[in-house]
Symmetry: none
Subunit: 258 residues, 2 copies
């Protein structure tokens, strides 16, 4: 992380073509700041970036709204950029080839200039997305994979996903890779059974005076964590519950004798 | 893509604890449907999932809002789940170890049951996030890496990032390679202390009649494995030995009375 200059991330400009929703623009400002970006450019916006709704959604990212640049055309928004990627919802017969965001976006950060020159990530209007003509201003085009049943993401959600992936690429490290929970047994005990066991255990520990009502909650948290770490199987959980039952009997039997 | 059953994705339940913003709940319904999810569970929501603002943000995902289940507690929301992952904004001194979402989330899809049983991804309230107690209901905890300057993501944006990563993992494809390395605590209990605890436990279980001499060895093997899997810290082991001591006292005290 130290070896990569944070300025390459800050050099990425988010361009919104004709955004119409102030809630979206505000949400976008917020997630940009969350992800370490700051340059917002609006092409012929249909709403005011300083609209109260936008400011409300931006929360602590109002600086991004105040610094937002409003321009009249996409080429103007791209001034000075060497690399641009456009976003679209789906493949079109006459459109450019689409790439996965994880594959294309890191290219925006491979910025050879010193200091890093601006690069651009372009999003279309809420209702229609970018036209083929607008897509052609960028060298590459990405599409966020989504369900065929309802493929169209909210604009601010699309920006969130892309800026997150930019930041992840910038952070590097343990990579964009899933981990198989191979060490976790397949027949893990259901969580509600685990909770039932913890509840029995709490009762027992109160009975024997190990727990007091005022310490019970925090202590039981420790047991919950320990149990989750061990990932007990249904069979193991049944064993633990068997012990609790037997302990209870042993304690009651002794009491009965007294 | 064809080889992986889409039902494992649909089996993932999104649990929102005390959500307050109808705009957020509506946006979440939309991005869930975008990403192929459908089960939304609200724990003590502070807003109506059918609030007009929620419905407006959901656009074509109003079915998710209509099918949303409202419950009174997190354990209730987790009923039937075998695997749960909680989300948090940042590391806490006394909290569970944090993982990257790319690393942990695919685990929710490794669902061995047929048909796939429910798995859960839990998000906290907008203003405070999940408490440590709530985090402990899940086996794993993820944090979305964000800027130190403004780390706190909007709830719906956080859900967008996580559900996108779930879908990407489900889709497979480039850049998603398996990864090793989980977080083993640094202060693991010494093995001899662990054995001493197991010996105390064996004695107690013989006393209460849970173990018989001829079953003791194989049973104790099960406990040894469970303990090793959980990798208890020295502090956790001390806690377990404290319980055994107290149980012993309780049993003897009762006996003394008889």
């Amino acid at each position: 992380m130290d070896s990569i200059d944070e300025r390459v991330l800050q050099a990425v400009r988010i361009i919104l073509v004709e955004p119409a929703g102030p809630l979206n623009v505000g949400s976008i400002a917020r997630v940009m700041k969350n992800m370490g970006l700051s340059q917002l450019v609006l092409v012929q916006p249909h709403c005011d970036p300083l609209d109260p709704q936008a400011q409300q959604m931006a929360v602590h990212a109002q600086s991004v709204l105040h610094q937002a640049v409003v321009v009249q055309s996409l080429p103007e928004a791209l001034t000075g950029c060497q690399r641009a990627i456009a976003t679209t919802a789906r493949e079109r017969a006459d459109g450019p080839p689409l790439e996965l965001p994880e594959v294309a976006l890191p290219w925006l950060l491979e910025n050879p200039a010193e200091p890093p020159g601006p690069a651009a990530l372009i999003f279309g209007p809420e209702d229609r997305g970018l036209s083929n003509g607008e897509l052609n201003y960028a060298q590459r085009t990405v599409a966020i994979p989504s369900s065929e049943i309802y493929p169209s993401l909210n604009l601010a959600q699309a920006v969130a996903v892309c800026t997150y992936l930019l930041r992840r690429s910038w952070l590097g490290g343990p990579d964009l890779k899933p981990q198989s929970g191979s060490s976790v047994p397949a027949d893990l005990a259901p969580l509600d059974q685990l909770e039932a066991m913890l509840s029995d255990l709490e009762q027992l520990l109160l009975t024997i005076g190990y727990l007091y009502p005022h310490t019970a909650v925090s202590r039981m948290e420790k047991f919950r964590r320990l149990l989750h770490c061990s990932g007990p199987t249904a069979q193991e959980l049944a064993m633990l519950r068997g012990i609790l039952r037997q302990l209870d009997w042993a304690l009651q039997a002794n009491r009965g004798k007294s």
